[in-house]
Amino acid sequence: MLGTGLLQGLAVTAKNFAGSFHDPKRLTTVEYPEKKSVIPEAFRNFPFLVSENAEDPMGTLRCVACQICEKECPPQCIYIEKSKDKKPDASGKMQIYPAVFRIDSSVCMNCQICVEVCPFDAIKMDHVYEIATSERFETLLLDRHDLAKPNSYFHQIRPLEAAEVDGRLTAERKAAEEKAKAAALAKAALAAKPAAPAPAAPPKPPEQA
């Protein structure tokens, strides 16, 4: 009362003024272009497509054009066209691949649902954020060449998640290979029999972690 509240307020601002010079807890600003704040691993901003190999990204995309993400994307910013032919994937199995894979990043709202529903760990969320551009259509409509980034990049931005995904994938591939080997053995053993076992099923969708 009688101005004591005002004086108290002045004391607090004076304290903060002094504190901003010596107390890092008070001056929390990160001066952006020179310094950048540490991005947590979970940070997500726009999807990218994981390819196994940096040299040949288009040949080693994990995506098999199953179109689940296209269906589930809430703002429907993904457009996929399946290929007519098949290409061997990382484990050498013949797979359909996306002939067209486009993401309209001006529509995308970074919700990560495409990542959650992808059964092949083929689409992941990126860490980029300096993506301002002055052109609406050519630069924001990303096609598969823009989207493809190698697995090593994935390891770089999300080491924990990438390690977990890689472990799971190698385990699955090993299992598939063993199954195929067993199938081949069985085939060789029962060469006379006409019916060949069906090709190995695609790896099962990962359980929700």
Partner: protein
């Protein structure tokens, strides 16, 4: 009758002021405040009729941010609506997510594991902290406090947002809750960060209150301004801190006991005057209670799964039926009403937005006050236009 017509609720002698309008027709100044106005909290517009500086009529104009949220919800899968709920009250994605998840869980009969319930409480209370701290900052900004309280508030909010980011991947558009649990688990070091933040938050609140709560100018600007009476508030459907500031001790965390809230001991502060100062102070006091809840939750959080194994994200088709999930959001009762016809999309998707309902009494609160008060009253209602317009 539209809530903006002359109503018997009028708490501030509005009826009398109206008669003055008739006497001096045509000599009043009509000012269109917004949608481009520094203090309308987004794209809100008030058509204010002024007699000198005194408000004799106020007509809110809504809808500048309308984007068909409810209709989109009816054509999107249950999962697909979750990120849209982030964008309702974009300060409180976590609580919006929870309310929507609650509605879907009730529709699909899903259980939520223990750990997920604790995580939800922690995130909801953190969300409450950062919402209230923002509100206090914005309200003081509206009284003209040159940004200092707002900056202090945002400094603390930033810490909470960073926690949200490291858990959910996004600062504001968290999209974190799922039906039957949460999307990712919180690491123990994340919980440790939360607990150090929570332990430091009390000191911040003390400093903030020392800065401004006892300030005579603030008291002069807010005490007795925009007085709302309890019965009027109840009949207008007002919820949250707005309602509690007029002395009605109604808190869905206590009344509805959703989630695991009955396990925590906390008090519900209520005001006695129903004016802007009470609305401000109730939020400050609620933050102190939230700190208590957070400390209990962080102490008790068990290990275990975070998703109901029955829950499935893709192709979720609940049985035909309807459900209403509501929680005590920072701004009031945020509820989602869903009707399922057994398909992958809800047949009806309806949001009960606290901001919008709380806004209905704006004219009654402002009548007879000055144009400067109208800005402060609007600030004390705590609206987010993403939720008002949907």
């Amino acid at each position: 009758m539209s809530p903006f017509d002359a109503s018997p609720l009028s708490p501030s002698g509005g009826a009398h002021v109206r008669s003055v309008v008739d006497e001096f027709h045509g000599d009043l100044l009509e000012v269109s405040m917004g949608p481009h106005h520094p203090s309308t909290h987004g794209v809100f517009r008030m058509i204010v009729t002024l007699d000198g500086e005194r408000i004799v009529k106020l007509k809110p104009v809504l809808g500048y941010l309308h984007r068909n949220h409810e209709k989109i919800g009816e054509s999107t899968s249950y999962l697909g609506s979750m990120p849209y709920t982030d964008r309702l009250d974009y300060l409180n994605a976590m609580t919006n997510n929870w309310a929507y998840a609650l509605a879907v869980e009730r529709l699909g009969g899903l259980a939520v594991p223990e750990r997920a319930e604790y995580l939800r409480v922690i995130l909801a209370e953190l969300s409450r902290l950062q919402n209230h701290v923002c509100l206090a900052g914005f309200l003081l900004q509206d009284t003209g406090a040159s940004g200092t309280p707002l900056m202090y508030a945002f400094r603390e909010r930033e810490k909470i947002l960073e926690l949200f980011e490291s858990l959910s991947g996004s600062r504001m558009m968290c999209n974190f809750q799922r039906f039957g649990g949460c999307r990712t688990d919180a690491s123990s070091e994340w919980l440790g960060q939360v607990s150090s933040l929570v332990n430091g938050f009390g000191a911040f609140l003390d400093e903030f209150e020392e800065l401004i709560t006892g300030n005579e100018i603030l008291m002069a600007r807010t005490q007795g301004v925009g007085v709302m009476k309890g019965p009027a508030a109840v009949s207008a459907g007002i919820t949250g801190p707005m309602l509690r500031a007029c002395g009605v001790g109604y808190d869905i965390r206590k009344v509805d006991a959703y989630g695991i809230y009955p396990r925590f001991t906390f008090r519900v502060p209520i005001g006695s005057h129903g004016d802007t100062y009470d609305r401000y102070m109730i939020r400050i006091l609620e933050m102190r209670e939230s700190i208590g809840i957070l400390q209990q939750a962080l102490r008790d959080i068990p290990a275990g799964p975070i998703m109901d194994p029955k829950a499935k994200l893709r192709g979720f088709r609940p049985k035909p039926g309807e459900s209403y999930g509501r929680i005590e959001g920072p701004k009031g009762e945020i509820g989602f009403y869903l009707i399922s016809d057994g398909s992958a999309n809800p047949y009806r998707y309806r949001v009960r937005p606290p901001s919008f309902v709380n806004l209905t009494l704006l004219e009654d609160l402002c009548l007879g006050h000055t144009i400067a008060d109208s800005v402060v009253i609007l600030g004390s209602i705590d609206i987010v236009l993403g939720e008002v317009d949907r």
